[in-house]
Symmetry: C2
Subunit: 388 residues, 2 copies
């Protein structure tokens, strides 16, 4: 492998452990590059895209992407019921999420070399004797080296003994698929290094670990995540994606350019300071262009200009037919039209002044039918319907 290819694989990485070993093994032949995914939610965010783009770079150089679908743990959930974030899912829900996630991954990854494995295949088959062997490979002190465990332990906050099991299971995945490298976000460094330790304890060559920086969400403060709502989905439609990228704080631009585009720093590093608005527009075009295509990006930009710069209502607004109901109960209308997810969200947006009819703010939940027919209902900055 050429030196410049190795440098490309290392570029943007947060950590590569151990780096010398990585340079040697990557040069000596095709590797198996593992990435685990938890099928517990349907969307894939731009945060994921950071790691997926890196995995694709490996594929482009002939290395095999090994996707591990964590269907076993998703089905098991957290039996303690203490965690709100991890619930027990049915087998069909998990399959559904897995299919959705894999379909979205395929928008970034190459169709080959690619291997997809479901970890229920081996974790579901583990017997108690295997579990005892697995747990014999590590010490309690090693587990407590993980920062969040240590912090909670020192603060006398509970750590379920079960939580010790998850990193072991994730590491066991690496033992089974014989990973050479495991990719992940930088918050996965410890877990992935546990995989290296376990592989060695099982008499195999330990995997190397490459982590990518965590993408900060549209709020400019926290890691992009579905549960925080500060995310951009890789299947968001072009206009939505364009608009959301235009809404990120200026200080995030360098990391987005570096982690989500192929543009060399020379093309954006000065511009983000001298003309942040234009730089952000370029960023949005690049990202939308990657996940859709250049013409979709162009159209999204045009639509964006019309709405935000010119204050006009976009073309191609979907139409909906009002029923005979009079007055019209707006929350029901908005949620049925898909402008909001629920009546309660609609009521909240009305109360916040985020709802307009032909550009004029409305606050009442019930409006005479005559004041709506033939007008445009707008929710937030980017959601419109024409009322007939």
């Amino acid at each position: 492998m050429r030196n410049q290819d190795i440098e490309k694989l290392l570029s943007g990485a947060d950590t590569v452990v151990p780096e010398t070993e990585f340079r040697e093994r990557i040069a000596s032949g095709p590797l198996r590059v593992k990435l685990g995914l938890d099928p517990t939610a349907p969307a894939v965010t731009l945060g994921w895209a950071v790691v997926l783009r890196k995995l694709r770079q490996f594929q482009e150089l002939g290395h095999t992407a090994v996707l591990i679908v964590g269907d076993f743990t998703a089905q098991v959930g957290d039996p303690s019921g203490k965690s709100d974030t991890r619930v027990r899912l049915s087998a069909s829900e998990v399959r559904g999420y897995a299919e959705s996630v894999l379909e979205q991954f395929s928008r970034v990854l190459l169709p080959e070399p690619l291997e997809i494995r479901y970890n229920s295949e081996w974790l579901g088959a583990l017997a108690m004797a295997d579990v005892l062997e697995l747990t014999s490979k590590v010490t309690v002190a090693q587990m407590l080296e993980r920062e969040d465990f240590r912090t909670r332990f020192d603060a006398n906050r509970p750590i379920s003994a079960m939580e010790f099991m998850y990193p072991l299971l994730q590491g066991y995945d690496s033992v089974v698929v014989e990973a050479d490298v495991e990719l992940g976000g930088s918050d996965q460094l410890w877990n992935n290094m546990m995989g290296r330790v376990l592989m060695e304890r099982y008499g195999k060559q330990g995997q190397m670990v490459l982590t990518m920086p965590l993408l900060v969400g549209t709020d400019g403060a926290q890691k992009m995540s579905q549960s925080l709502g500060n995310y951009i989905g890789i299947t968001d439609d072009p206009a939505d994606m364009f608009g959301k990228i235009m809404s990120i704080p200026d200080h995030l631009m360098p990391s987005y350019f570096e982690l989500l585009t192929d543009l060399p720093p020379a093309e954006w590093s000065d511009r983000v300071v001298s003309d942040p608005a234009q730089a952000k527009r370029r960023l949005a075009r690049e990202i939308v262009g990657f996940f859709h295509d250049a013409s979709a990006a162009g159209e999204a930009e045009t639509a964006f200009d019309r709405v935000f710069r010119e204050g006009r209502i976009p073309d191609d607004v979907p139409e909906i037919e009002l029923t005979a109901e009079d007055p019209v109960y707006l929350p029901a209308l908005m949620s049925e039209a898909g402008l909001t997810d629920s009546n309660s969200e609609a009521r909240r947006l009305l109360a916040q002044g985020a709802v307009k009819v032909d550009g004029n703010r409305v606050a009442d939940e019930s409006i005479p039918r005559s004041e709506l027919v033939g007008r445009t209902l707008q929710v937030g900055k980017r959601r419109f319907v024409a009322l007939r």
Copy 2:
């Protein structure tokens, strides 16, 4: 149940938790009284007998003895290979030890009410999902409350994550057999309380725990145990058992009287001070009488007097025929005659001056045949053969 019966069950106990609940539940009907045993060695010591005698008291009052044979963990062993004391045993070895131990238990316990369960029945059937549920029931901090874990943790000595599993499995046994009480030595208090915690987490009524004091071994210092060699086995022949009891330090007599005989303190508490030799003789007769019978105890005492007080060679010494070999290699003779376990033990005893021919110490390993024929070979204080 009569109050005096409850007091009898509580007598001699180290700890009863919780005592008020115990008094209530024991009075309300027959209970299931669990005792776990690890079939990893063939002998049952007088230390075990302390707990078995307590279990028999429960049986005599109509409660069911539930013996849990830990065949699962004995077969699994310690996969880390770090511990010398716990080795992986084959299924047939475990069955063999279990049969031997149960046969010896039957010398103390009543044939009913008695239930014998092998924990491979349920532990062998646990799947990974069950293990995760089990581990979700406790926290890491709870596990580290166990004194030996805490001590090692604080001293930075390793605790395998697997070691956390064993108390959980032992507690899971209680969940499955729905124990009302678990018996054990006082060193089992924490493990048995973990069983109570787990039963409650699984929505069952938690077991109560009754522990007995640990019997000190013949060395007068450490817990009686097979691995320390300071033990008296309940199947030792009467003469051996009598002799070993006569060898215990005087200060152990009160605990032996209390834990291994039914004699009320009035019968021995003054005597152990005023005439310890007679008191110990009484103790030995009682214990040998329990595990064999009164006449065996009487014969053992007579033989003891002959050998130790009168310095004479006992009657009924087994005879062995010398081969034509000349000179005779004593270590081989001794080990073949069963006086020692090996040639090397025989050589060591010769070097220590523990071997006599017709009462005269010998040190040479090879002795002319003519100096042995028709004489008595003695090893230590109690092993004799007549040489023909």
